[in-house]
């Protein structure tokens, strides 16, 4: 391993350094703070904090760390509720605030998971944007001390037949596969939703999950004066430093090369070795603290590591020599090095005694590692460049004391009108033939169609622990070969529902993910969320955001599933038009024995089909209204969280006691779409006889019974000899249950309405994606 001195970048660009001394002596120098997104009052605060004007390097740090993306300045006051209303649980080991939350899953194991967005970069360069999205969220998981074990990818695109969707979707999918597959991480689920509101602003959310021993949780803290600060992984290049370039060129125009990368390129191979290298380092217990470098790069990692120690013990500080950072581009200036968002880098705090072993493991994996600094007890973050001090700040002011906005919000004027435009006036299929057509139409609709074209590009098997993946209600992983302990994960989020009513929409997203986890037999435990919204500066968007967070926090409280972490993505809009508010919710569940999992496929002829829950005339925001009428109006389905909880209990009990041969949650497309999916998956048809109990709930209209999207429902298949026992379990707990048919034959048939051969359904369901993208 090279000694730090040899690593020093020998060529120092000719450049006038804006030192702390210089800044103090030249109060009148104007820095282009507004070009960096810093507001005049924010700039004043920085001056106040420092008691002088910031140096250009300091301004670079404050500007990125106080940005919306890093400081959550618009969302903080709302996100607080997740803590305030958090249910009292004993399994939460690390809550929001760290890189990812950590949950006790039993035995000596802990699981960490988090979802994040990479929306804008994926629009600019779909492959690299999506790939680096996976890379970033995986590093967050790794940072907690965990081995990453799977990823998921909830995606939203513009219309399936739009030209731009054909540019964006294939690239995004290849990027997620290209990066995730190369990391050896199974992709165990995700979503693909098309809606015109995402044209020009696709949503690329990525979730990662990892597992570790409880005793091995790592935190991002720079404790212990004298400890070494090590930067390792990829070299630093000029990625993502548009802002800093403005700064450098505005202040010190010296004709440097002006080209800086517009796009970050991921190197999954580098990340794979970085993962293995870190895990070996963790196993030998060689780090005091660790932090990944994501958004805001070194600005973030140095200030957050130093601030955390100060916050907790009152002792801390860090000295960093910026000229020791290994560069990919020797012309980078210190401002740019601080802001660079180059991928595949990590920062660790290591005791001097362990540095050699640390470097030994890095060498084994061919990972470049460099000591760039030292932990101090000065309370300051001091950064030098070729011997001159360019930053001298209290790291807490950078990392934690950013601005907090109470942005104004109000209910949009159009909300009432939107809710008043119910789907009641839409013409509904009446005859059996019309129903038949509608079933086929929905089964082949891009939102509901088979996604095999996409998921075949993802490896879901690697690591050999994938028990359930795509096509099932949740992804499920075995954690322990001996005990068969496992976890399940599902993500959901319906932007149409949230547009109609953001409070309910967010709760429905949670309810659906929760239900999906339970449908596979796992007990829902904890939540991560990615809140995708328009501009927070628009009071109507801000209202949507406030409502959605309130709804989610309230629902988590009732369901006993704390939010452990997540991400906020604002400014998702094309011109003035914001996307539908799209809270994407991920739910993590545990299952004691993965061999007890429940699949969604109808596998056995003769099994009895039962509908759990109640159906109402709820078609506002439904897939039917969207696909058939292009209509969005009315209210979304009602949420009954107690009912969701009851349903989950029954589904879990059914799986544990071996009473269920299949279970499938009802959501988009309603009962009939669920039956179609389970039938196709298992290769067995279904004969449905809508019973009076169900028809009575919907005013006798079979169309509503089949297509309503009422929440809190699932369809299950039970062996005949279990029917009595299972319905008794439902009745004794007060969960409505109705026998709606049997698994039988080669068609999906609804008595006295229609019959559709499985082959015909399969063609409709599977033909869509290859025709669009093949």
């Amino acid at each position: 391993m090279t000694a730090p001195e040899q690593n020093r970048n020998s060529t120092r660009p000719a450049y006038v350094v804006d030192t702390v001394e210089h800044a103090a002596a030249s109060p009148d120098v104007q820095l282009p703070y507004e070009a960096l997104g810093v507001k005049p009052d924010e700039y004043d605060r920085i001056r106040e904090i420092l008691g002088r004007r910031p140096t250009s390097c300091e301004l670079a740090m404050y500007s990125v760390m106080w940005s919306e993306h890093c400081s959550y300045k618009s969302s903080k006051v709302h996100l607080k509720q997740f803590g305030e209303k958090a249910p009292d649980v004993d399994f939460l080991l690390v809550g929001p605030g760290e890189n990812a939350g950590v949950v006790d899953v039993g035995g000596d194991l802990a699981v960490t998971f988090k979802i994040e967005s990479h929306n804008h970069p994926s629009y600019v360069e779909p492959y690299q944007g999506a790939a680096t999205g996976i890379g970033g969220i995986v590093r967050d998981i790794l940072t907690m001390g965990a081995r990453p074990i799977a990823v998921m990818d909830p995606l939203r695109f513009g219309p399936a037949d739009a030209a731009d969707t054909h540019r964006v979707l294939p690239g995004v999918v290849r990027g997620i596969g290209g990066y995730g597959n190369s990391l050896g991480l199974p992709n165990i689920g995700g979503e693909i939703v098309f809606d015109p509101c995402y044209a020009g602003n696709p949503l690329v959310n990525a979730l990662a999950v990892g597992v570790m021993k409880k005793s091995e949780i790592k935190l991002a803290q720079a404790h212990g004066p004298g400890n070494k600060v090590i930067l390792f992984g990829a070299r630093t290049g000029g990625d993502g430093i548009g802002g800093a370039s403005v700064l450098a060129s505005a202040t010190f125009d010296d004709g440097r090369p002006s080209k800086r990368p517009s796009v970050q390129v991921g190197d999954p191979f580098m990340e794979k070795v970085l993962i293995e290298c870190c895990l070996e380092i963790f196993a030998e217990d060689l780090v005091v603290g660790i932090q990944d470098l994501g958004a805001a790069g070194l600005s973030c990692s140095t200030s957050e590591l130093a601030a955390a120690a100060l916050q907790q013990t009152g002792v801390g500080g860090m000295d960093v020599q910026l000229d020791l950072v290994p560069l990919r581009d020797a012309t980078l200036l210190p401002e740019e090095i601080l802001m660079s968002e180059s991928q595949e880098r990590m920062m660790a705090v290591v005791t001097p005694a362990d540095v050699e072993r640390f470097f030994g493991i890095c060498e084994k994996w061919d990972v470049t590692a460099t000591v760039v600094g030292t932990v101090t007890d000065t309370g300051r973050l001091r950064i030098t460049w070729h011997g001159e001090t360019v930053v001298d700040v209290d790291p807490r002011t950078v990392a934690h004391q950013g601005p907090v906005y109470h942005r104004p919000y109000h209910r949009p004027a159009w909300q009432d009108e939107l809710q008043a435009a119910t789907p009641d006036s839409l013409s509904r299929p009446k005859t059996g033939e019309e129903l038949r057509e509608t079933v086929l139409r929905l089964a082949g609709d891009p939102n509901l169609a088979d996604k095999r074209w996409v998921i075949e590009q993802y490896d879901h098997r690697v690591r050999g622990n994938t028990v359930l993946a795509h096509g099932e209600d949740s992804g499920m992983l075995r954690l322990d070969d001996e005990s068969n302990l496992g976890i399940a994960l599902a993500t959901d989020g319906n932007g149409r529902y949230a547009k109609l009513d953001p409070y309910t929409g967010a709760q429905l997203a949670l309810a659906e993910a929760y239900r999906n986890v339970a449908a596979t037999g796992a007990r829902p435990l904890a939540v991560t969320d990615c809140l995708n919204f328009g501009s927070p500066e628009d009071p109507e968007v801000m209202w949507q955001f406030a409502e959605a967070t309130r709804g989610l926090a309230d629902a988590c409280q009732v369901l006993g599933t704390p939010v452990t972490g997540g991400n906020v993505s604002f400014y998702n809009q094309t011109n003035e038009q914001a996307i539908h508010p799209t809270p994407v919710v991920g739910v993590l569940g545990v299952i004691d024995d993965v061999s007890r999992r429940t699949r969604s496929a109808f596998e056995h002829e003769g099994d009895v089909l039962l509908l759990l829950g109640e159906t109402h005339d709820e078609l506002g925001g439904s897939e039917w209204a969207h696909v058939v009428h292009g209509h969005l109006g009315g209210l979304p389905p009602r949420v009954d969280l107690e009912r969701e909880r009851l349903l989950a209990e029954v589904l879990i009990a059914g799986s544990r006691d071996g009473m269920l041969s299949a279970a499938h949650d009802l959501s988009d497309g309603g009962l009939i779409q669920a039956v179609v999916e389970s039938a196709l998956r298992g290769g067995h048809g279904a004969r449905i006889v809508l019973p009076d109990t169900v028809l009575d709930q919907v005013g006798g209209d079979p169309f509503v019974a089949l297509f309503s999207e009422s929440a809190g429902r699932a369809v299950v298949a039970v062996p005949r000899n279990e029917e009595l026992r299972f319905t008794e379990v439902c009745r004794s707990r007060g969960l409505p249950v109705a026998r709606i048919g049997v698994v039988e034959g080669e068609a999906v048939e609804v008595r006295s309405q229609f019959s559709i051969p499985l082959e015909e359904l399969r063609r409709a369901h599977t033909g869509t994606f290859p025709a669009l993208f093949g």
Binding site: V124, E125, Y127, Q128, A234, G237, G238, D239, K259, R260, P261, S262, V263, Q264, V265, G266, D267, P268, F269, M270, R328, D329, S342, Q343, D366
Partner: protein
């Protein structure tokens, strides 16, 4: 018949993990003193019609639209190279 070569390389400021992987492998194979390796793509295109400016323009359009991802890549278009740097012989017939 016009034979055109389109070379596509990542823009210099863009990270090239492929080239780097090759560069890192070289010392292990006993090749030292390799300062930099960049990896890109080379296309050999045969177009109907004469080898004139119009053919080049057509190739350029193809490169711009399909062969290069101009967000991160740049390209150069030229006629069939001289014998010296020809890799494959023109297809028979």
């Amino acid at each position: 018949m016009a034979r055109v070569v389109v070379d596509v390389m990542l823009k210099p400021e863009i990270l090239d993990p492929q080239g780097q992987a090759v560069q890192r492998a070289l010392p292990r194979l006993g090749f030292d003193g390799i300062v930099d390796v960049r990896q890109g793509k080379r296309f050999e295109i045969e177009l109907d019609g004469p080898a004139d400016e119009a053919a080049l323009a057509r190739a350029r359009e193809i490169a711009d639209k399909l062969l290069a991802n101009t967000v991160i890549e740049q390209y150069a278009v030229r006629f069939d190279p001289a014998e010296a740097d020809r890799v494959t012989e023109p297809a028979a017939g």
